[in-house]
Amino acid sequence: MTAGGDDSNNPRPRRDGWDKAGIVLQPIGGLLTALAVAVLGFWTSSYLRAREGREAVLRERMQTSDTNARLYSELTSKREESESALRKDMFTSIISSFLRAGPATPEQKMLNLELLVYNFHESLNLKPLFLHIEREVKKDPNRPDYVKRLNQVADAVIKKQMLVIEDGGETFDATIDTRNLTFPEGESIAPFVAKELVVDGIRRNVKLEVLKADPETAELQLRMTIRTVESNRVDTSSTEFWIGHFDFPMIDNTRLPHDQRLAVVLNNYDAKRGVADITAALFPGKYAGLREKPYYDEVLAKLLAANRTAAAPAR
C-alpha cells in the first residue's frame, strides 16, 4: 500500500440524519421562500388596491359633496339675487308713488304703506312715512279709519319684531303715569324704573326716566341710563329719545358695546287717563334690522372668540 494510492477505495463519508434532512429541506426552504414572497406580494398588492379603491370612493364622495355644495350656493345666491331684484323693483315702484307729484288717494297711500311695511319692516325705518300719512289724513273725513289702520299696521309689526327679539334677549315692562312723569308699581310710585338684564353673559342695569309726555301725539321722551359692570369697573352711558307708536324695535334702537341693542317700545298710551305702558328690550345685534351694518372690529372680535371656543376642547 502506497501513500498516493487510489481514493476510490476510500469509503464515502457516512451521512447522518441531519445531513439527510438538510438535503431534503433545502429545496423545500427555497419553495417556502418563493411562496412567502408570492403571498406577501399578493397581500401587498391587494392591500394597495383596496386602499386605492377606498381613496377613489372617498375622492368621488368629496367631489360629489363639493359639487352639491357649489350647486347649492349657486342656487342660493341666484335666488338671493332674484329676490333682491324683485324687492328692489317693488321698493322702487312703491316709494316712487309717495315721492311722485300728482294726486294719490289716501287709500292708495295707505295700501302702499302697508305693502312697504309688511315687506321691508326689517330693513327700513318707515316712521317718517307713517307720520307723513298721519299728517295727510288729518282733514280727511275718514281720518279715524286711517289712523286706526296705521296703528294696526304698526302694532302688528312691533309684535312680530318683539317676538323675535324676546327669543334672544331679555325684556321688562313698566307703567308710566304721564301726568306726573312717574312709574307707579303696585302701591308705590317711583321717579324711575331700573332693572337688571343679562344677555350673552353681560349684565346691564337699565334705568328709565320720563322727561316729557305729549298726549296729542301720544309720545314720550325718555332718558335711558345703562350701567354695565365689566372687569371690576362700571361703564355708564346715557341717552335721551322720544318714543311713539311708530317706533319699531328692530330698527329704532340704541347700539351698545359687544354688538347689543336696547329698544323701548310704547305698547299703550291712554291720554285721557294719563297712563302709558312700555317694554324695554335688551337683545343681541343679530336680531336687529338689516339697516345697520355691524362694526368690523366687533365682527373680528366675535370670530376670534368663536375660534377660541372651537380650539378650547381640542386642547
Binding site: D155, F172, D173, A174, T175, P184, E185, G186, E187, N267, N268, D270, R273, V275, D277, T279
Partner: protein, 110 residues
Amino acid sequence: MKRKFLIIAALCLVPGAAALASEVFGTVSENGKPLPAGVAVKLECEGGSASGVTDQFGSYSVKTPATGDCRLSLTHKGSSPSLKVTLYEKPSRYDLVVKDEAGKLTLARK
C-alpha cells in the same frame, strides 16, 4: 213689534260689546318656574270683575269690558296676593312674579 225688535237688537249688541273687551294677559312665575295649571286669576275693575286660570305654562288671560285701573289677584298657596294693573283698549301684558316676603306672598311685575 218695535219693542221686540229693540230687545232683540240690544241682545245682539251684548256679544258685540264683549268683543270690544280689554284684556290683561301674561305669565306668572315663582322662583323662576311657571305657576302650575289651574291657579285662579281674578280681575276686579270698577265696572265688574272677571276671572281665569293659569294653564300648564303659567300663562293667563282675562278679558273685561272695563278699562282703566283694576286689581289683579291670584289664589295661590292659601294666599291671595294682588297687584294694581292698568287696562287699555289694546291688550295689556303683565308678566308677574310671586315673591315670598317674610312669609307673605306678594305679586310684582317681572
